[in-house]
Symmetry: C7
Subunit: 97 residues, 7 copies
């Protein structure tokens, strides 16, 4: 069984530490800001914002580490994240290319 997020939500598999190091991208922690994490898009809802923003399966994204909802499918950990074009409405900030 698989998870398909609804609307403007995506299912993301967080990167492992060695993949993050290899990417050359560091998201520094700070006292005032939520820590960031990186992950790969596994599935997307059918929301219009996702199409407008051009996100697709396999994209690597940057998101708030404690954002969204944890879900475990066949013992693998994922996150369901909300993606929006408005400020403060999106768990996802950027794509890594």
């Amino acid at each position: 069984m698989q998870i398909k997020p609804i609307g403007n939500r995506i299912l993301v598999q967080p990167l492992k530490q060695e993949e993050i190091t290899a990417s050359g991208i560091v998201l520094p922690a700070s006292a005032e800001k939520e820590k960031k994490a990186q992950g790969k898009i596994i599935a997307l809802g059918n929301g219009e914002d996702l199409k407008k923003l051009g996100l697709k399966e396999g994209d690597m994204v940057v998101f708030g580490k404690y954002s969204g909802e944890d879900v475990e499918v066949e013992k693998v950990e994922y996150k369901i994240l909300y993606v929006g074009s408005e400020k403060d409405h999106s768990d996802v900030l950027a794509v890594m290319e």
Copy 2:
């Protein structure tokens, strides 16, 4: 007599523990997040968001365990849940396929 939710609401019958275990999907509890539950859609309102999101009778959905309203019809327990495409407006997060 049956319950028909209005607008963007659905009537859901929560899964039993053995059905949840069989699904292979685990929704871990945590201190900061609302516990999640799984259930089957029994009836849908005629709201536009439900059509856009492609939900239909029989779909298995993931929702906030304490979201929505409890209702008991002929001694069976159900929940009336709100489904929306906006962040923080939807009791339902994903469909299990």
Copy 3:
């Protein structure tokens, strides 16, 4: 003299306890949620949401017991309830069929 609600409001006559029992529908009270009640639609305003949601005179509806406004016409007790398609905006959740 009669009461005609304006806009997306309806006039509802709450069901008596024996009618509720006969319906087979139980709306359990809980500590965190507003208690629910059941009633019959006596009159409707001309609001667009009422038409979209397909509500009509005689429909039996489920609503928040302490929602809306109490009104007594010729010694009969009624409630004026607001019906909306947005979450948290509707005093009415479902229709009993």
Copy 4:
């Protein structure tokens, strides 16, 4: 000189106690809800909601007793009330027919 409310506002003359009694309509006071009052529409603004809701001069309406603004014209007391189709936005709830 007369008062003409602007937009979706109406000028209402509250009913006297004997008129209220004769109407057969009682609006019970309660601890949690604002007390209701009844009155006759004397003048209307040119707002679109007033037209949509079908209100007209001479209509008897039910409104929140402490809603709106008091105004005295030639020693007669009136109220300027706001009428809206959204929940919690309307001082007026229903028309008496």
Copy 5:
């Protein structure tokens, strides 16, 4: 030099006490409501709400006494008031005719 309000704002010259008395309109003070005042429109912005509401130069209006901004032009006192069709958004409630 003159003041021209922008958008849905108007410049109003408050009436003197004898003009208010002559109008036959009294706006009673109360503990819970903002005191009202009366004045003449001297200039209008080019906002769409002003046109919809049909306000024009020379109109006598009722407004919240402490609403808006005070401005003194060539030693005469005026107020810049906001006029809106939404509830709680308008400093101006009615026109005197």
Copy 6:
């Protein structure tokens, strides 16, 4: 180098005291309201509200003294102000003509 505000923002150079005195316009300070100031528009963003409101370079405007952001270009002090047609959204209230 020059500053070009984005969207519905304008760059304003505050008037000197002698220019304010000469204008004949006084904006009295009070305990409850933000003090006002006067200034000349130096540059405008390309926002639609600015066009609707008819503002242009060289216009003298009235604004909240502590509104907006201070910026110093080649040792001259300016302010970046937001202009909007909604109540409480605009740093600028009126134009002086």
Copy 7:
């Protein structure tokens, strides 16, 4: 690997102190306002507001020093900033030309 912001977000590289001094633009710190900073746009999302506002790669912008999210790519520090046309919604205030 590079960072591509989504929607109405931009990737900005903050200017060094000598570049800021050379620009002739000073953004004074104050007790009540967020300190400002200056930077160069390195990448833009595909959001509609960015196009409307006419921002492009290489533009020098003024933004809130503590706004947005820090990100380090190949040991160079950048910021992901949100750009909006609404008041209080934009991390970016102006372009330097």
